[in-house]
């Protein structure tokens, strides 16, 4: 079952002076249950526009989008969603604890369940000490963590996170990645946007690359990494203690190992040398730009 579904989504923004921005160009995309999907693209690619359409904050010009089979223009589509906006901003006159209660009540949570879930999540996100302080006194990282807390409070099936790691220090980033991994283990679906390729590599099952409103590719992270293998670094040694380290092309690995064994070399280590997601992303964007230039 597809938990998130974009069908031929197009979004055109019309400026006051008549200029037109094609923020999304007939984008179709499906995210399955239990998947962690990374929506990767440079700034201004259309990631946040797609997410805002999912949340009913803006309407698509054409096409449709669904969450758990419910049209996103219906308020009930958001019942199963926890959403973290980009650079989140919450009612700053409330304390962190009050804000979580407000969100929980909006989802119709039972008060006793809300209290226990609120306490647990505040502790998990290291906001327990600050829970009674007004949000206006929180640091950027604390607000980001509160944003994550309010997505977790009602234990939704779907998490939509817009740049969840932005503004966080390395500890905060590690915490977010850990939480995303935990959500995956619980069978939750996570759809998150980012322009940081390392985040995708660390936690995603699949990745979609978007640039200038066009979804350029969708693939599994494992497959991208496998395809990106350019060769192997083989470390070997002889009985007399001589060591050797060589870069072997992908196609020659078998032959190289057989020859090494025949020559009494012992293989100590074989490490794949591959392009990372960043190289993959840059290649795709570069190809797209070449097409545009030629066109």
């Amino acid at each position: 079952m597809n938990v998130i579904e974009f069908t031929e989504i197009t979004k055109v923004f019309r400026g006051k002076k008549g200029f037109i921005v094609n923020a999304l160009k007939s984008m179709s995309l499906q995210v399955a249950k239990g998947e962690v999907f990374g929506f990767l693209g440079p700034n201004g690619a259309g990631k946040s526009t797609a997410i805002k359409i999912l949340l009913g904050l803006i309407r698509s010009t054409a096409g449709s989008a669904r969450i758990m089979g419910v049209d996103v223009n219906e308020c009930s589509a958001r019942l199963s969603v926890g959403y973290l906006p980009e650079n989140p901003s919450f009612y700053d006159f409330l304390t962190g604890e009050e804000y979580l209660r407000f969100v929980g009540r909006s989802f119709g949570m039972d008060p006793s369940l809300l209290n226990s879930a609120g306490d647990r999540i505040l502790r998990r996100l290291d906001l327990w000490e600050a829970r009674k302080r007004p949000i206006r006194g929180y640091s950027k990282g604390m607000v980001q963590r509160l944003g994550l807390a309010q997505t977790l409070i009602h234990d939704p099936a779907v998490y939509i996170l817009d740049e969840p790691m932005s503004g966080l220090d390395p500890i905060g980033r590690a915490l977010v990645k850990e939480i995303i991994r935990e959500l995956k283990e619980l069978g939750k679906t996570v759809f998150f946007s980012t322009h940081i390729t390392a985040d995708v590599e660390a936690v995603c099952d699949r990745v979609g690359v978007i640039n200038k409103g066009t979804l350029l590719t969708v693939d599994t992270v494992a497959s991208i990494l496998q395809r990106g293998v350019e060769g192997y670094v083989v470390q070997r040694f002889l009985p007399d203690g001589t060591t050797d380290r060589q870069l072997v092309p992908k196609s020659d690995l078998h032959t190289f190992i057989e020859q090494s064994i025949a020559s009494r070399w012992s293989i100590e280590r074989i490490e794949p040398k591959r392009k990372d997601i960043e190289a993959f992303f840059l290649d795709i964007v570069a190809v797209e730009q070449r097409h545009e230039t030629q066109g």
Partner: protein, 263 residues
């Protein structure tokens, strides 16, 4: 809805602007002394001053809360987090409006009680020639609150179409001024004195008379000051007018807001 109303009430009570405006209420304490300077009609003057001060405070609250509340939520990007919760936009807007309207009504009742105390003190020192009509005084306070609730509905309507605070703030102030003049303009253009006016101008005046609010209908100050008994019709008609006009404004505002893009 109750969740939204309570959170918005909390926002008002924790707002520093509200604290500042309420500080103006301290002026009430000076009214008996200032009124006594007139040497005659001391009670009438204290009623006038008290009701005028109450009106000014309610106006300031209407503009500061009504015209900036929605704009602030959009400007500070609170709307992204709140409107992504499973609630209709109309519920968000109406919840906000009800909270501000309730708060205004509560403020009017508290300041109304202070007004009664001030008038009672003044009348004790300098007894009035006519007995005070307390019912008219209380009704005057309530209708004053209703008038400003209509104004808040207008400020919400402006906020739903505007991307800055200029239209909500200055539009609300303009409606306030126009609303206080519509009855007089209507009476004038339909009087023999306005015979020379073109029919087009008269039709335009009539059109705006029905379109813009008529705040004169809510003005019961004369009855309160000079203890003139109120007729049932004089109270019922403005109340019915309020009950029809305000929801109409809010429905239009909700329709516009539901279509607004949160870019």
């Amino acid at each position: 809805m109750a969740n939204l109303i309570s959170i918005n009430l909390l926002a008002i009570f924790r707002d520093k602007v509200f604290h500042g405006i309420l500080a103006i209420a301290v002026i009430f304490l000076l009214i008996p002394s200032i009124s006594s300077l007139s040497m005659r009609q001391v009670t009438e003057l204290s009623i006038t001053l008290s009701l005028s001060l109450l009106s000014v405070i309610l106006l300031l609250l209407s503009v500061s809360l009504g015209a900036t509340s929605l704009w602030k939520d959009i400007e500070r990007r609170y709307t992204y987090s709140v409107l992504s919760l499973p609630m209709e936009r109309s519920a968000y807007l109406i919840g906000k409006f009800i909270a501000i309207a309730l708060f205004l009504l509560l403020t009017a009742l508290v300041l109304g009680a202070v007004t009664c105390l001030v008038v009672w003190l003044s009348s004790g020192i300098y007894p009035p020639e006519r007995p005070i009509l307390w019912s008219a005084l209380i009704l005057c306070v309530i209708f004053s609150a209703l008038k400003y609730i209509v104004l808040i509905a207008y400020s919400f309507l402006f906020s739903t179409v505007s991307t800055s605070f200029f239209l909500p703030v200055f539009g609300t102030i303009s409606v306030f001024m126009a609303g206080n003049a519509t009855q007089q303009v209507y009476d004038y253009v339909h009087s023999p004195a306005a015979k020379a006016l073109s029919p087009l101008l008269k039709h335009a005046a009539s059109f705006f008379y029905y379109l813009l609010p008529n705040f004169s209908a809510f003005d019961l100050q004369i009855n309160a000051i000079y203890a003139i008994p109120l007729s049932l019709k004089g109270v019922a008609l403005p109340f019915i007018y309020f009950c029809i006009y305000t929801p109409l404004l809010i429905v239009v505002a909700a329709i516009i807001f539901a279509r607004r893009e949160m870019k």
